[in-house]
């Protein structure tokens, strides 16, 4: 009996974990919101906010005015994406037409464009885009580059010599190009921390409000077992959400996991753990569910949206905000996800992010454990 008791009173308390799952499953509405949130967000970001641009205004500077440049200009004009509305007399005029807001893209052919192609097999065309709207700039240069590439293919078919038409892409105003692929890591960073931290905090504080926390603290349950039983169900729920987000982004949005799936999973599990620990800490600092909700949304939502690099690149921020952003876990997670998922780099590339998140996990967990133990 004694050994049996010891087993029952250890850190993993099966009864307590079952109880937490029951709380979640019986609150059907909250559970549905939790599980549907990532789906709605991904679909919204993926489809409602589309990148497709039609009839963008284009200006062309063509100093060589030969058969090749004329044909390329015609091609661009014929595309449903572009209307060539302006012919510039000098490259310097490009700046002016942008400032006046008359065009979205300027195409600058090099001098002797056609002649260079025939002689050296190599010619240059410069694409200048207004990147104040980064998504649009990427899209426009992408369209133009593919028109140029098609033209090159045609020339190749006509001639036997190899031909290279180099498209130099020049992004004005926003060299960082925070754009299209960014939102998947961003949504992951936001949803995971919201669910983990907010729900954990609320579920702990609810017990404080109803008085059941006192009953548990009077009982022989170890504080660590108490914390553990709160973490397990939300950890499981977050893993379901992680899988949902990844499946949607790969199969619906065609944002592939180009790096190590294992590395991405490991990084995400670590981030989930950090978020859970953060929720625990919040729960020890507030007394009511409303306060827990407010604290989580103020302390988590806003920093994640504004300081994590999800919307605005942290590199361009003033030093104090950069410093602030470095204590936002989402910043490191999103950076890691970009490397592992979008850029396809090996795990070794995000060792820094993993180290920082691990440190945060240990610090937060220790702090909330101490707080719970010494609360009284």
């Amino acid at each position: 009996m004694a050994t049996k008791n010891n087993r029952r009173l250890s850190i993993i308390n099966y009864q307590l974990i079952v109880k937490e799952f029951r709380h979640i499953f019986r609150d059907t509405r909250s559970m549905l919101i939790l599980l549907a949130m990532p789906v709605v967000q991904i679909i919204l970001f993926g489809f409602a906010i589309t990148n497709e641009v039609k009839n963008a205004q284009v200006a062309v500077f063509d100093p060589s005015k030969d058969a090749a440049t004329t044909r390329l200009t015609e091609r661009i004009h014929a595309s449903r994406h572009f209307d060539v509305v302006w012919h510039l007399s000098s490259a310097a005029e490009a700046g002016e037409v942008f400032k006046e807001g008359r065009v979205n893209l300027v195409v600058v052919f090099s001098e002797n464009f056609g002649e260079n192609i025939w002689r050296t097999g190599e010619a240059t065309v410069q694409l200048i885009a207004d990147a104040t709207d980064p998504n649009q700039a990427v899209t426009l240069t992408g369209y133009a580059s593919s028109i140029i590439a098609d033209y090159r293919q045609e020339l190749l078919a006509e001639r036997s010599i190899p031909i290279r038409v180099k498209a130099q892409v020049n992004m004005l105003y926003n060299p960082q190009l925070q754009g299209a692929y960014n939102f998947v890591p961003g949504v992951m960073g936001m949803i995971l921390i919201l669910i983990c931290a907010m729900m954990t905090a609320i579920s702990v504080v609810r017990e404080k409000e109803t008085g059941t926390m006192d009953v548990l603290l009077v009982s022989p349950v170890k504080p660590l077992a108490l914390i553990f039983s709160k973490l397990v169900p939300y950890f499981a729920l977050s893993v379901v959400n992680l899988i949902t987000i990844l499946l949607l982004s790969v199969y619906v949005l065609n944002v592939p996991v180009s790096g190590s799936l294992l590395g991405l999973t490991a990084l995400s599990l670590l981030y989930i753990f950090v978020s859970l620990a953060l929720g625990m800490l919040i729960s020890t600092l507030v007394a009511t569910q409303v306060a827990a909700m407010l604290a989580s949304s103020m302390a988590l939502m806003l920093p994640v949206m504004l300081l994590s690099g999800m919307m605005f690149p942290t590199e361009n921020m003033p030093a104090i905000l950069q410093w602030l952003s470095s204590i936002v876990p989402a910043r490191w997670y999103i950076a890691g996800v970009k490397k592992l998922m979008i850029e396809g780099l090996p795990i070794a590339s995000s060792l820094k992010e993993i180290a920082i998140l691990s440190l945060m996990a240990v610090a937060l967990m220790t702090a909330s454990f101490r707080k719970l133990k010494n609360e009284h």
């Binding site: 009996m1 308390n13 099966y14 109880k19 709380h23 059941t212 009077v218 009982s219 022989p220």
Partner: protein, 240 residues
């Protein structure tokens, strides 16, 4: 033999002294009423005795163990029913019983056996699978008490267990308290219903963090020449 012993127990929150150097003891099997107006310090004192709150100074021994040093052993020897409702509303009746029995380390067979006994005793056989939130308040209180003594603790602490309950249900609740005391469980109960004070073996009356009186209800009435406990209480409060 005293099962609760407090010596010069003091609890301060900043400048405010909630419990001011109280000393008392409770005997085994006794029903001990812990009375006082709201804010008199009775809940704070009880939380210290349960190990929920650390005393600023003084010491207390519960069930033979020092609360400060042998907290774990104390925890296994006591039951607790909080002022707020202490069961999970979104769990079924049997799930609540199973949960708390498990937390106190009871074996599965024992739990199954005692669950049947308890449900029969309460007349709750039909409510086994009912969510606790669907039960009437009086039933919830009775269930909460049964759960608090399910693991046969030496002492059970009840913090205003009958708040908001109608008189008939309160009487039934006190019958359960008597039954527990007959089995040898010491009952430490706070209340501000003075008629309930009459049911206790002994009562202590707290005023502003101090114990102003401690005796049997009968002796207190005689000493202060009061017709009932309510009058005893009023006179003590006015005197201080």
């Amino acid at each position: 033999m005293s099962v609760i012993y407090a010596e010069n127990l003091t609890k301060r929150f900043g400048n405010f002294t909630a419990v001011n150097c109280i000393t008392f003891s409770v005997e085994r099997g006794e029903i001990f009423g812990f009375l006082g107006a709201n804010g008199a310090g009775k809940t704070t004192a009880m939380r210290v005795l349960c190990g929920l709150s650390k005393p600023t100074s003084g010491r207390c021994v519960v069930a033979g163990y020092d609360v400060a040093r042998e907290t774990e052993k104390v925890k296994r020897s006591i039951g607790y029913m909080s002022q707020k409702f202490s069961l999970y509303e979104d769990l079924k009746v049997w799930e609540n019983i199973r949960l708390f029995a498990g937390i106190y380390g009871m074996g599965d067979k024992m739990i199954a056996l005692k669950t049947e006994q308890t449900l029969t005793h309460l007349g709750f056989e039909a409510e086994r699978n009912t969510l606790v939130k669907a039960l009437p308040l009086g039933w919830k209180q009775k269930l909460a008490f049964s759960v608090a003594i399910f693991h046969e603790p030496e002492v059970v602490f009840l913090d205003e267990p009958t708040g908001g309950v109608d008189p008939a249900t309160r009487r039934k609740f006190w019958e359960m308290i008597y039954q527990a005391a007959e089995r040898g469980i010491t009952v430490f109960v706070t209340t501000h219903y003075m008629d309930e004070a009459e049911y206790c073996n002994r009562v202590s009356i707290m005023v502003d963090g101090r114990i102003e009186a401690l005796n049997t209800p009968k002796n207190l009435r005689q000493r202060l020449n009061a017709p009932n406990m309510d009058a005893v209480f009023q006179r003590l409060v006015q005197a201080s």
